[in-house]
């Protein structure tokens, strides 16, 4: 019985990820939520001529390496407090590296990644401003170079 309880706790601990946060808050009031599954990413990856804006940047290599996309955008102050705590728990549990933090006019933005020099397995961005909290999580085996290239190209616009 003790071993069964321990194994259940292990299973629940493993579920502390973007999916767990999405499942918890996606149906709350004043919360917008988006989820894209691995199957949908496979379909998107087969769409030809993907690009951002007018530049001929191919998003396909990144899309094909994604296995999950979770977005939570909350305007509910009650949800925001709980959401921030769960995000902190998620970040503490995983070996996330803080990529960037920026504070400007009451808005705090943070970006985190997990991975090695070549591959990013999880990317998280949080934006907290007054009564709004946004959580974005990308999961997969994303080439760090490709991700940097796409973001750098987008910033050149």
């Amino acid at each position: 019985m003790i071993i069964a309880a321990f194994m259940l706790l292990t299973v629940s601990a493993l579920a502390q990820n973007g999916k767990a946060i999405y499942n918890k808050y996606s149906d709350a009031d004043d919360v917008s939520a988006v989820y894209i599954s691995p199957a949908m990413f496979k379909i998107i990856g087969n769409i030809p001529n993907l690009s951002i804006g007018d530049d001929d940047v191919n998003l396909t290599p990144v899309v094909r390496s994604l296995t999950g996309f979770y977005l939570i955008d909350s305007d509910n102050p009650g949800v925001n407090a709980s959401l921030r705590k769960d995000i902190d728990k998620l970040l503490d549990a995983g070996k996330y590296e803080l990529l960037m933090e920026a504070k400007d006019n009451g808005e705090t933005m943070r970006m985190y990644t997990i991975g090695d020099d070549a591959i990013v397995t999880s990317f998280i961005m949080t934006v907290v401003e007054n009564d709004q909290c946004t959580f974005i999580a990308l999961e997969g085996k994303i080439s760090r170079d490709k991700l940097s290239e796409i973001l750098a190209t987008a910033m050149d616009e």
Partner: protein
């Protein structure tokens, strides 16, 4: 036949005398029955730890299987549904999100760039005092 109380009150010499006496007859098969009982007791004593270990292993395995099944049910039940059924809409959301990330990243880099003159000046002062 003596009672147990009488036997307990007898001395060792008396007990030895009675034991060596040839007048007392031992019931037939008693020796075999005692040997059999002792042998069976010894066998069961050896078997008990093995049976206990077997039962423990079976219990652990059953708990593990039950926990694994429950875990699989919970994980499957928690699988969310795609927000979009149209892949083009899903891609449009992805593109919009990347642009949002870019905007926020750009703002962060702007703030960092604004601090650059201060950092350079600080560095000059520090190097000047060295």
């Amino acid at each position: 036949m003596r009672t147990i109380d009488e036997i307990e009150r007898m001395s060792m010499e008396e007990l030895e005398r009675i034991a060596s006496s040839k007048d007392i007859s031992i019931p037939e098969g008693l020796d075999d029955r005692i040997s059999g009982t002792l042998t069976a007791a010894a066998f069961h004593a050896q078997e008990r730890p093995a049976a206990r270990t077997r039962h423990t292993i079976i219990g652990i395995a059953a708990s593990a299987v039950a926990a694994a099944c429950l875990g699989m049910v919970l994980v499957k039940a928690s699988q969310p549904k795609d927000t979009f059924t149209d892949p083009m809409l899903a891609y449009a959301q992805l593109e919009q999100t990347f642009q949002y990330i870019q905007t926020k990243m750009g703002k962060g880099l702007e703030i960092a760039a604004g601090a650059e003159p201060v950092i350079e000046r600080t560095s000059e002062i520090f190097n000047g005092t060295k």
